[in-house]
């Protein structure tokens, strides 16, 4: 599969038509989607029509956008006007988006072609894409394994070569972990970089739109298109957006890479060896490895689960069957109405609503929710202090490679713990990127993660770009 960069350049200079680019994607989807289940819906006629419009504009001498003819899949929690957006939940099974998310507007303004919506864990709650009403997505590297989650469909679609890039959302690692499991690049920018207008909310203090792509340069170009202030999202930042795809330096000599003390202690041997080899490679490229202390980072996962579940219990209250969601006609009173209308939620979603509302109850608030948000401040302070000493911080993306479908079914805590390295980025509002750093003995990809300071995505892109080139 050609990269985002190659396709856009070829379409702009007329050596490839947008129609051909779309047909190539549609062929791949037709061939592989029945086994992988990455896309839950594809819009072939519409994508071809849009490609023809792009080709016609080029023929008239118009200058095309930076993503000319690039086919993109969007996660099923992103609104695209007139199309279903179900969050892969029975609750929104028939919901049709009445307007475009800002990220969709931006993709279209850049002349990208959206070809379909991708599979995900229900309401983005999960790390394996197994809670979708459409059934699980499969890892293109090994169909018996999960692609990761919650943006598992987006990652699988890119890894299988169905599309050169896809959008995901990342609340605790949902872009970076599936990128790691599928052997591609996944980036979550810092909090506030990309508008969330038109993205179904899970945890408003942590949700971010992210990009999955086959290579770092493509991810940088996509990010460049998507970032920026949006008047419809009050949390989006009023900051200039650098030309990420043109900000790579000639080398990374002198780059200070933070290695958090104790981070590799509980890793499996194979992942540990790959991360150590990656650090060695960075050293050979001229980077300086510096030990850093993040004493509160070990609390990230429990902190994350309390805060995000609390926010989810509030955000998902809107699915009350009146404005949105299922409406049961048999309720006898208000309490029963709520209970019956929320029945279509899946097990994981129900559990997080219960955890969140329990953490917020008056008798638990101080010890549970407030303590978690205070610990979050300490974690943020740890990272701020570390970034005074180093340019980027290196960690594994996930402690394991992709696991088999159905594994950990009876041990959800093990899955929550596996988010340790990624959820720190959401707790701290940091930018994080996962880049492949080799395969284990079973041929399964291992991901390396770089964290960067707030509003300095170019630093992690640069480190990842040079690492990717050297691997």
């Amino acid at each position: 599969m050609r990269t985002v960069f190659d396709i856009a350049e070829a379409v702009r200079n007329g050596t490839l038509s947008a129609r051909e680019a779309v047909l190539e994607s549609l062929r791949k989807i037709k061939e592989l989607n029945p086994q992988i289940n990455a896309f839950v819906e594809v819009w072939p006629e519409e994508a071809l029509k849009r490609a023809e419009e792009i080709d016609a504009r080029l023929a008239k001498g118009e200058k095309l956008g930076p993503l000319a003819g690039v086919t993109v899949g969007i996660k099923d929690n992103i609104l695209y006007k007139g199309h279903k957006a179900t969050c892969c939940s029975k609750m929104l099974a028939n919901y049709v988006a009445p307007y475009n998310a800002t990220v969709v507007e931006k993709l279209m303004a850049a002349d990208a072609v959206i070809v379909g919506r991708t599979n995900m864990d229900e309401f983005a709650m999960g790390s394996s894409n197994q809670t979708s009403i459409y059934g699980p997505a499969h890892n293109p590297v090994d169909f018996d394994r999960v692609p990761g989650g919650s943006s598992g469909g987006s990652a699988a679609a890119v890894a299988a070569g169905m599309v050169p890039a896809a959008l995901g959302t990342d609340t605790g690692g949902s872009v970076r972990q599936p990128a790691s499991f599928c052997g591609i690049v996944g980036i979550k920018p810092g909090y506030g970089r990309i508008s969330r207008y038109g993205v179904v909310a899970f945890s408003s203090g942590a949700d971010q739109v992210g990009v999955l792509a086959a290579d770092v340069k493509s991810a940088a170009l996509m990010l460049e298109v998507l970032c920026g202030r949006d008047k419809n999202d009050s949390t989006s930042l009023e900051e200039p957006v650098p030309a990420f795809s043109r900000s790579f330096t000639a080398d990374i000599r002198g780059l200070k890479v933070g290695m958090p003390n104790g981070f590799l202690d509980n890793l499996g041997q194979e992942v540990k060896e790959k991360i150590e080899a990656a650090a060695e490679k960075l050293k050979q490229l001229g980077a300086e490895l510096v030990a850093v202390d993040l004493p509160h980072a070990k609390y990230s996962a429990p902190c994350y689960y309390i805060i995000t579940s609390a926010e989810a219990s509030s955000n998902l209250a809107r699915f009350d069957g009146i404005r949105y969601g299922y409406n049961d006609k048999n309720a006898k009173d208000l309490t029963e109405q709520y209970e019956l209308d929320r029945a279509p939620f899946g097990l994981e979603v129900k559990k997080r609503i219960i955890i969140g509302s329990t953490a917020l109850r008056a008798e638990n608030y101080k010890a549970c929710y407030l303590q978690a948000v205070k610990v979050r401040e300490l974690i943020k302070q740890d990272f701020s202090a570390a970034f005074k000493k180093v340019d980027v911080i290196l960690t594994p993306t996930s402690p394991t490679t992709a696991f088999t479908l159905g594994a950990h079914k009876d041990n959800p805590l093990a899955v929550y713990l596996a988010d340790l390295y990624t959820c720190q980025g959401n707790i701290g509002g940091l930018a994080g990127i996962s880049v492949p750093c080799g395969n284990d003995k079973q041929g399964l990809p291992v991901g390396l993660q770089f964290y960067g300071p707030i509003l300095q995505e170019e630093k992690i892109l640069n480190a990842a770009y040079h690492f990717e080139k050297a691997l």
Partner: protein, 93 residues
């Protein structure tokens, strides 16, 4: 300790989530385990963190009226029951 006096059934009831007996049994252990895991946060010394710093300032956009007639019609059109540009919803109180 959270859930010391509580149980999954009560937590679910308070959250307006109806569980089947099988779901209640499943959640009972999972939630106990989860809240025991979260308990480690209580060991962290947060005395130096002010509550006001921990709870982020609310971000509010300007309260400017926006007119978008076509969007309003689209939104109203999504309700199955409507009359005179109003939506009809089930009586809940």
């Amino acid at each position: 300790m959270i859930l010391e006096k509580d149980n999954a059934a009560r937590c679910a009831r308070m959250a307006k989530i109806r569980l089947t007996p099988a779901e209640t049994a499943l959640y009972e252990d999972q939630m106990k385990e989860l809240f025991a895991w979260v308990e480690q946060l209580s060991a962290v010394d947060t005395s130096a963190v002010k509550e006001s710093a921990a709870i982020r300032a609310a971000y509010l956009r300007p309260d400017t009226p926006v007119t978008d007639e076509s969007l309003a019609q689209t939104l109203v059109g999504q309700f199955s029951d409507q009359k005179d540009h109003c939506v009809k919803v089930k009586k809940v109180l």
